[in-house]
Every structure is written in structure tokens, then in C-alpha cells.
Amino acid sequence: MKTRLPRHEFQEALTAVATLTGGRTTKPILGCVKLVIDGDRLDLSATDGEAGLRLGVPTLSVDEPGQTVVQADRLLNIIREMADVEIALEANDSHCMIRGAGSEFKIYVQRPEDFPPVPGFEGEADLVVDGDQIRRMIAWTIYAAARETSRFAINGVLWEKHGEQLFLIATDGRRLARAGGRVRGGGTSDFQAILPGKALNVFEKVFNPPRDADGWQVDVKLMPNQALLRSGDRVLSTVLVEGHFPKYDDVIPKDNDKCARVDRLEFNSAIRRAALLTTEESRAVKLSFSRDQLVITSQSPEQGEATIQVPIAYDGEPMAIGFNPAFVNDALRAISFEEIHIELKEPTRPGIICGEDKGEFLYVVMPVSLSS
């Protein structure tokens, strides 16, 4: 294999790859990237055993097609430190040479046959969505996913297609986030699949809007145990989370009759301030709603108390409810509406945070009981 590459693009591709290869692994080959030239493009692929990534880099010239497998972090560090606009890459069975003006690196390679297969996107998409929209939907939900999967906590985000609607839902058993959007195209059948949080984090880092396009789209293909996401020449593959997503519709309150409207940033800041005086054991702030006023209080037995006032629009009955401040702020940070709605019923029933349109974004958060 022998080629010349634009260094900047190559570095970008390797940075994307590093989101998968950077983790700790017991298998050295999973820390590697496979480079393949078969035509006039360089294809990179990497996998952490559960998710895989394929992407391409245009070449400046190809003298000899071929393939090689190199340690990804090492290659990225080299490429990052080189100042050249273009670099030369040459590989044989034992090593890979990287050359720039005045520098030359020789790194040892692994056998391409040992590299696990990383699937490409083949056939028709089951779903086509707007790129910006799906990025937003992921950002609005992923923080609510659990770190580990257990009975009511899912380490992943449910993708649910209903006709022309796509919903993403995540829950850790104590709060639940749902984002909705329009489907742009793809197959006609509805589906449900849980994509792992880890793969979606990689998606967020790697699937950015292309510089040269106004609208961009993401194609999704579902297979029995696997999902593929494609944008341009980038393909992310991931295993699906096994297990049943809890029946989330049942826990979305339908009759929360106490509604307040509040400025999102102001609310976010007030919660942050009140959270300064909560303790590890009792992460709770108390929200006391009365006519057009919200008072957020917190107390820490050893440290002190905080009282924060926030102007709101509220004309319901006075009511107080406790929340884990982190749960509230996770949502407030993720979304971008100027004004949000808070809908409550009772101090022990779930509360809702949403914007104008619940179909677009809905967050259900279970309170903290303030029994004592």
C-alpha cells in the first residue's frame, strides 16, 4: 500500500476513530485502525467489539492499493504532530512508513486478517432522518439513560418508529426523556430498537453536519441484533441492547394539572445555586410553587441552607415538591427552549418538564420524597 494523503482530513478521520479505539481493552487489535485502499479513497475502520465505525478520506494519489492495521492512538499522535499539508503513507507486511517534510516514522503493523470485520451499510435504509434533528433528539434523551441495564433502567436509547414519527426514549428508572421528530424517508414498517448509549455518544462526536451542505441526513438500517447509521461515507454500526424497554407510556402523567412556566436559563441557574447546599446522601432541592413565584430551597445538615427565588408564571394551588437537582438540570442543559413548562400533580407523583410541544420533547422526573 502506497499513497499520499491530505494530513488534516486524515487527522479528522483518525480522531473520529479514536472515539472507539481509545477505550481500555484486553485485545490489542481493538486499539487498532484498519486502513484499506481499493480505488482512489482510503477507508478506515475500527471497532471496540460492540460498535464499529467506517469512514473514508480522499487521497491525493494512489501508487499502490493494499491494506494495513496500525495502532490507532499512535498513528493519530504522529499525524497530529506533523505540520505538513500532505503526508505519504507506505505499508508492507511488517511495518508502515509515514513521511512528511523532514520527518519519517516507521511503526509496526498487525495482520489485516486478524482484524474483526466491521460492517458497511448495504441495501436500503429502514429510516431516513434529518441529521440536525437526530443529533438534537439524541442530545435531548441520552443523558437520561442508565449506566447499566437492569429491570427498569436501560443503558441505551429506545428508537421507536410510528409511521411518520420517530421517538427516542431513555430512562434510568427515576426519570425519562422522550424526543420526537418527523421521519424523512426509508422503509414503511414501524420498529423498536434500543441503541446503546456508548454508540450514540460516538455518533454525537463523529456525525457532525458536513461543512459544505445545508441539509444533511442520516440513514438507519436495522438488523436483528445490530443497527447501522450512515451519513455521507461514515457508517456507525452497533449491537443492540437486549432486553425489554419498560412500558414507558404508563408512567407519563396525563393529568398533571398544576402548570408553571419559567425561563429555562434562570431556572437552571437557580437549581444550580440551590444544589450547592445539598449533600451526597440527600441530593434534593425543594421547589415551593405559589402564585407567580417559585422558591427553591436546600439544606445540608452539616453545612447550611440556601433559598433561591425565581419569577414564574403560575396560578395553581401552592405546592412543594422535592427533586434531585441533577435530574432537573440534566434536562435543562440538554434542551434549548427559552421558556419551559413544569407540570405537576402531587409531591409524590412524577413531574413533567417540556416545551410548547410535548411531542417534540417531554421529560418525566420522579420526585424525591421530603418525608422528614
Binding site: R151, F152, T171, G173, R174, R175, L176, P246, V251, E281, S282, R283, A284, G322, N324, T348, P350, V364, M366, P367, V368, S369, L370, S371, S372
Partner: protein
Amino acid sequence: MSSDSRHILHLDMDAFFAAVEQRDRPELRGKPVLVGGDPNERGVVATASYEARPYGCRSAMPMAQAIRLCPHAVVLRGRMDRYAEVSRQMFAIMERFTPLVEPLSIDEAFLDVTGSTRLFGPQQQIARELKARIRAETELTASVGVAPNKFLAKLASDLQKPDGLVIVPQDGVLTFLDPLPIARLWGAGQAAARRFERLGVRNFADLRRLAPETLQREFGDAGEHFYRLVRGIDDRPVVPDRDAKSISHEHTFATDIADRAFLRAFLLHQTEHVAQRLRRHDRHARTVTVKIRTPDFATVTRRTTLERPTDVTDELWQAAASLFETWTRQSDAPLRLLGVGVAQLSEPGTEQLSLFAQEQLDKRRRLDQTADQIRDRFGKDALSRGGGPARS
């Protein structure tokens, strides 16, 4: 540190469940009464009234067997909520004499009255007064042991049941201990009994003559424990649950037990009891420990930390059961001791409610509440005395 000046009481109600029944239902008085589980479901006797005991009926015995021994006995399933109510009454009386009351079970407690003598007179008088108050207010009798430490007090309370009062003076500890049969030694099960027999040890005096090295060689870590006990040394403080850093229950079986299903059931009872004590003192626990001792005296403790502190029996039990099952996957050794404990106790304070399982959790809580009382068909008696737990 010297513990010379302590005055410890051990109070143990006499045939508690049966006595409550006989009090509430005069027609049962003077008759053999068995309170316990369903004989058709392998239930065991929780309490046998004193009238039933001459027939050989004992607590922890299979109910079916007890009925065969004493066919005319009145068999009752027990009203745990009623017993819990009486228990609360009795603990309230104890707490009038000292704040240092450490519950051992529904009808058994240690009291440290060292600081109460100025107010209530010498420890003997406190013990008499306590018994009198309990009799007057609950119409039930208790047996009390008075001694310089817990170990001796517990031995003493058991010597003159029912309605006993045994006082072990500081300068009479060895005179008290020496003639006692070695089977009364705390922590000595059947394996130890066999070794004692081989060593010619029949009573405490015999055991005291053994060199510490011999004890160490024969019993490992327990040897040191025995060495101290036969000399009447026991520094364990009386710790009320509200001050406790941990709450635990452990039991040394009279015979080594290999039956995993039985041990699991036993552990559940212990867990229920620990959970009940947690709730009684309004504490939540963050860690759960299971303690296991095999016949070779090797002691294993396994600990797990819960996602959040709880006082719900079911949540504590899931943790304990999982620890126990992990251990049983690695070993099929019989057990001589099994125990469960909780630690990292905190005040309940705030609790993050759950989106999906809250209803179930609330239900479990209500269940716990209604019968915090519902101690199992094993009563405390079955857990702590007799020939060990019954297996049928």
C-alpha cells in the same frame, strides 16, 4: 479497659407467644399451647407453653412432631401483630430504667443499668422492679440475668426460667461459671462439642484449664473467644439500635447444616428481623453483610453496597440472598454459623422515588409495616435456643 463496674441485665420473656395467648384467652391457661406454623406445611413451633414442655415439645421443633408428642395441645398460628404490640409495651417499660436497651429480638433485650443505680438503686433492685413492672403492666413474666457483662447476663437469665432472677456478682463470676456445662458456651456448636469431648472438657472449669495455645490450635480464632468467655470476660457494650453503627443477627447452629434451602430460609428470617430493627429505629442501611462459618471455624464475610439506603426487607433480602448464593456456588460445606448484618446506617431523610417500581415498593413498605410484626413461624425462640433449627 476495665469493665468491672458495668451492670448488665439480660431480659427474656417466658414462652412469650404462648404466654400472650394464655393471657388474652383465659381458657388456655394451664393448658399446653403450641404457637407456630402449619403442621401440614412443615411449620415449626415458635413457642411451646410451659405446660407443653414436659411432653418434650420445644421451640424450633416441627409442629407435626410436637402435636404427636402432645396431641391434646392447643395449636395456634400466632398473631404477630399482637405480639409486636406487647413487645413495644415491654420495651417501653425497659426504657424507663435506662436509655441503653439493645433489642435482641421481639421479646429479649440487654440493658446497661450502670448509670441508673443512683436513680433506681442497686442493679438487683432494678431487676426486681423491672420484672414487677412488666408483670403489673403486661401480666406476663420475664426472666432476668444480672451480671457485669452481656455474656454472663444472658447465661444467668436462662438458668431459672420461668420468672427467674439470677444475679452474678462481680466477685462470683468464676464460681458461677465453673459448674456450667460446656454446651452453654456462646459460639460453641456441635463440632466444638465433639472437640470438647475429645479433650475431656465437660464444664467451664475444665475448659479454663486448657492452655491458650491448645484452644488456638483446636478452634482457631474462636479459641481466643472461648479463652475470654470461660474467664467471664466480655467487653461488648450494650448498643441501642438508634446508636448502632450496624445491626446484625447471627446464629450458631447446634449441628452443622448443609441443607441450602433451609439455610436460605433461615437467612431470610434473620434478614426480616434485622430489617424490623432498622425500621423500629427509623434508620436506613446502605451495606448488607452475610457472615458464614464452616465447621473448620473459617469465617467468611461477604458485603455488598446497595444503590441507595433502604429499610425495606425485600431490598435487603435481595442483597443478602445474592451474597449467600454467590457463596454457595463456590462451596458446599455445611455451616455452623450464619448471620446477616446491615451497616452504614443513616436517617431516612430524602428518598428518590422510582418511576416504574414505586407502587411495588410502596406495597412492600406497607407489607413491612403491617407486620413488622410478622416474624416468621420461627419465633425468636427457634432462632436462639433448643437443638438448633428444625429440619423436617
